[in-house]
Symmetry: C3
Subunit: 477 residues, 3 copies
Amino acid sequence: MSDPTFAIDTRQAGIARELYEAVREMPLLSPHGHVDPRLLADDEPFPDPARLLIVPDHYVTRMLLSQGIPPSRLGVPRRDGGPVESDGRTIWRLLADNWHLFRGTPSRLWLEQTFRTVFGVETRLRAETADEVYDAIAAKLAEPSFRPRALFERFGIEVLATTESPTDDLAQHAKLAADGWGGPGGRVISTFRPDNVVDMERPDWRDAIDALGEIAGEDTGTYPGYLDALRSRREAFIAAGTTCTDHGHPTARTLSLTPAEAAALYERGLHGTATAEDAETFRAHMLLEFARMSLDDGLVMQIHPGANRNHNRRLYAEHGLDVGGDIPQATDYVHALRPLLDAYGMDPKLRLVVYTLDEYTFSRELAPLAGGYPALFLGAPWWFLDTPDAMRRFREAVTDAAGFYNTAGFVDDTRAFCSIPVRHDVARRSDAAYLASLVAQDRLPLDEAAETMADLAYHLPKRIFKLDGTKFDGATK
Amino acid sequence: MSDPTFAIDTRQAGIARELYEAVREMPLLSPHGHVDPRLLADDEPFPDPARLLIVPDHYVTRMLLSQGIPPSRLGVPRRDGGPVESDGRTIWRLLADNWHLFRGTPSRLWLEQTFRTVFGVETRLRAETADEVYDAIAAKLAEPSFRPRALFERFGIEVLATTESPTDDLAQHAKLAADGWGGPGGRVISTFRPDNVVDMERPDWRDAIDALGEIAGEDTGTYPGYLDALRSRREAFIAAGTTCTDHGHPTARTLSLTPAEAAALYERGLHGTATAEDAETFRAHMLLEFARMSLDDGLVMQIHPGANRNHNRRLYAEHGLDVGGDIPQATDYVHALRPLLDAYGMDPKLRLVVYTLDEYTFSRELAPLAGGYPALFLGAPWWFLDTPDAMRRFREAVTDAAGFYNTAGFVDDTRAFCSIPVRHDVARRSDAAYLASLVAQDRLPLDEAAETMADLAYHLPKRIFKLDGTKFDGATK
Amino acid sequence: MSDPTFAIDTRQAGIARELYEAVREMPLLSPHGHVDPRLLADDEPFPDPARLLIVPDHYVTRMLLSQGIPPSRLGVPRRDGGPVESDGRTIWRLLADNWHLFRGTPSRLWLEQTFRTVFGVETRLRAETADEVYDAIAAKLAEPSFRPRALFERFGIEVLATTESPTDDLAQHAKLAADGWGGPGGRVISTFRPDNVVDMERPDWRDAIDALGEIAGEDTGTYPGYLDALRSRREAFIAAGTTCTDHGHPTARTLSLTPAEAAALYERGLHGTATAEDAETFRAHMLLEFARMSLDDGLVMQIHPGANRNHNRRLYAEHGLDVGGDIPQATDYVHALRPLLDAYGMDPKLRLVVYTLDEYTFSRELAPLAGGYPALFLGAPWWFLDTPDAMRRFREAVTDAAGFYNTAGFVDDTRAFCSIPVRHDVARRSDAAYLASLVAQDRLPLDEAAETMADLAYHLPKRIFKLDGTKFDGATK
């Protein structure tokens, strides 16, 4: 690789390289993601290369699906337990045969760099080299130094936050804590994500409410009991090291109801008489309720709105959730967030990080909001936007009104453990290229660009997501 | 021209030039456009330069209108048959006097390159050189080698698809076939565009329904007869070489009605009692119906939604359709296309190419959809977006989630015959510049960039629009 | 500063520099802004650096607020007259301590360049140099050559238009005229902005209506009297040198009501029974009414839609209007402007300049509209978009369909007097960089780029905003 940055111009590239080199070895913070904690709790060897790198990566399987290759041929499990391809090598060859589909995509960038930097494989993947690459990776995976915890240390990860529901008993995290890997201030912690007990439209909501009551020892048959159960679980998460919550709603709508109004909605949910509008109203209200809880217990609040879940109904019917069938939708923030911001947006003790799938809100909504409310930060460009070009567009569009210090640094949000270092690396290279463009245009001196670079790569997420040991800081944003 | 590409950086420009040079002489495929087939059927000499290059080009006449020069001074025919400027030289001088208005626009790029490469005129157009340029072009037009068929061959066009309604008798195409220019696998074919028999809001819909019944020999007084007539006309088009349909609706809305529901709407249309909402519902339903027909007969389906037709009412009143009075409007794809995608989106035998006038859907909707459904491809940036800058933005925004192979290559969609080669050339230069940026950033090796370049320029549209002789291929997308 | 342009590539930078150098000393036209005319009427010395450069600049105070620094600590007056920081040096130090927040923002660019070019201060601002910079600027402010009129002349301002309501008695402008600074063709003129007598949702609307009647000597208790009062005030403004109106509505909606319908709405407003929808309808209708008045009296009409005013309610409650609490919202132009364009869009005697806070309308709506209606021009990228990157995106997105000559040149729209030259300078550098990219890509010859550069910098705004002495030109756009 002659040039590690995404700069095109040689003058800019030189500056970018200098900025990047100074941070490339900084520790990684993964304050939000979907790695299964069992992976690190058990520390078992990884399966074959295909099961590690292809089968669980819906970025990869959806692209192959888009060209007519069904997920079952790629080993993606079926909901009905029906047969799917089980031979890793066969799946790998199918990827190699269709490698051209990934030209210009982030998946190609991530996979190639993973092959090279994690597994030391320099051979270019193509149909003819499929077996060679497969075998080289498989051989590495058999070595003890390629077990999850060894890779975690080699990757230079300082903190990794997985994501669990309040109904999760955090057993994996307890095991990690017992091994010296988890607990408060530990290397692996959890993020509190209550969507399954908030969204009445989920088929499993009623069961989740019961499970929540049981695990919290509260009566979730009433709205006050429900809130108590949530508070209780937040405390349990905090005791296990959690510093953040996460909320993945279809929209960013927030709403302030009276307790009586909220209770009435909750009752309708329990009785199965809630409408779709009731469910949306309840979700909107709960975001405000969770903001109140955050002001009490200090958890940083994240909102990931705007996914039209299971847009691809046939894919959902056959393979279930999170296999590439979600599609972004236009998302309003200006009106949707206003009730929450009216209530708590001016309180620097609240820390609210907002993500988007809709880049056509960057300069119009997100940057002016984050640049005008103490509580609000912009999360890194998310899903479908976690790419060199989109990260550049993000910086170009939000820096004008939000600067750098109302953004929260990079968050990988991935379930692909081996891709964590390369995703951070791509973000660092993208930010370096953007900062270099400012330096090249005489809009920022090099020393300040370098300081900003280190802040974006490490210091900002550490502080904003409270990975620095601060339980609660109300002093400044 | 010192540099044929749109790259600014010299390193990138060098790579872009190499990529471009390798494809610049490849044959042109024009799988969708609005050239009058009579032009090639009759092969008469072109009229004067103004009538060839200005009068019919609404990109040019609308820009002049925007600065207060009415279309009648540019020779654009009036609906009432009233007098308009008829002297080509006068019209030409008016263009030359206002040539500065076109600085930075694609019209300038296309016209200048047409002057130079088609007519060999190197003189820069300005008020003082208006006559010189006019005379030079007029002299060329008098030569036999500047007749339509001769230019067609000189342009290197392999296939040109014109666009006709089902009510067209395809007489021009029959004449072309008789001359060895048309018919299945021929050089000039038709695209089946049924808008005038689908859109009940058109004043001529009722007449078109009668004409459809007559030409198809079916009773279009009933909904089943209407569907039979459409199927019959599709077969007639296929017999004449057609491989694609096209659908230009105000929105991308699709809907699955029962036959009884659809028949009821159709009846209301026939009785003149359909509301605007009925008309939209019927259009939405018919897109699903046409997808079903495509699955039966193998025609590739194109959708061109989002034009607010005749926004400029006074222009429409004076000069009619397609003279520059249409304006884009915000277009939803995620929800609008879902009924169609639910029904047939996972079937690789359907081939659906979607275009847009709304670039603010590229990364949020179009790329994730095309990268997630086997049936769906993205058409080239269309109308108002058929420019070097917009084509770059298209690639930068859609490649992340859709790659290159879910896009359909360039489509000129023009009624300006002489601009066909330059439009393709601009697209090739734009794609070369984008691919070169990937190479310059070490995101793609040069050999793969070169292969992709040839695919975008030629192989992809040939395959996707079934210009390769495949009647029906259900094997892969 | 090694390179005054925003070009990155060295070839492009060379061309950009040449284009820029040729216009950098051209006179400044400030055809729309919010400088207090009293400033120039009184010509008193400026207060301390903080009160001059920080306190009134909501770009600066909102960024500091976003990081938890309340406006009262920055000296922003409270509505309740409560205490706020009054020591300029303390405020200045607070800025310097938080200077890193402004990295990459236009505020930093404007302030640094103001320090350097207006006050001759080359010291970089940081916590340690806060006092040094403060003292250096304060020393300059004590000199007679730093009084407002002296700076006005040093800045090279040819015309500055302030903004007044019809209820303003224009006393400051009369004083300026008496001093040879104002009046028709003068250096300081007013823009007619009737929002406070149009928007029934303002708490002070009813009082403003009374004040309008009084100052105009008309009975605003009736709708015809209200229109007469507006016409009368327009004539008074015109007599004082005004060439433009401005209209800042929440949306761009326009509507053509009958006089009776409009009168009925007006009555409801007077009786306090108008709904929010009534108020929106009345605003929409009045835009059409003002277009009619412009056709009569020749005032250029400007529309600034799309601000969600006082989104930050707590900020509004504590500090009032225009202190950084407004947020942009998605804005439709295609449907909203149609009634006005249907009525008068084809009349080149109307001159309508439209601005936007929503860049996601550039290529889809604004450029096609401006490139298709004689009456319509695009205003410069406004508020949140008045930055190098956004100005580049503006040119890249609108030039294709609107060219350069349907845009109106730069408008600073600022209340920060000392930032006027740097804002114009940034716009000139941005346009130079964009034009240079066209030259570098062989899309425009250098001589035409240079001519365009001068038009954008000076000639276009001079003509479009009728600062050239033309009272009325119906000949061409």
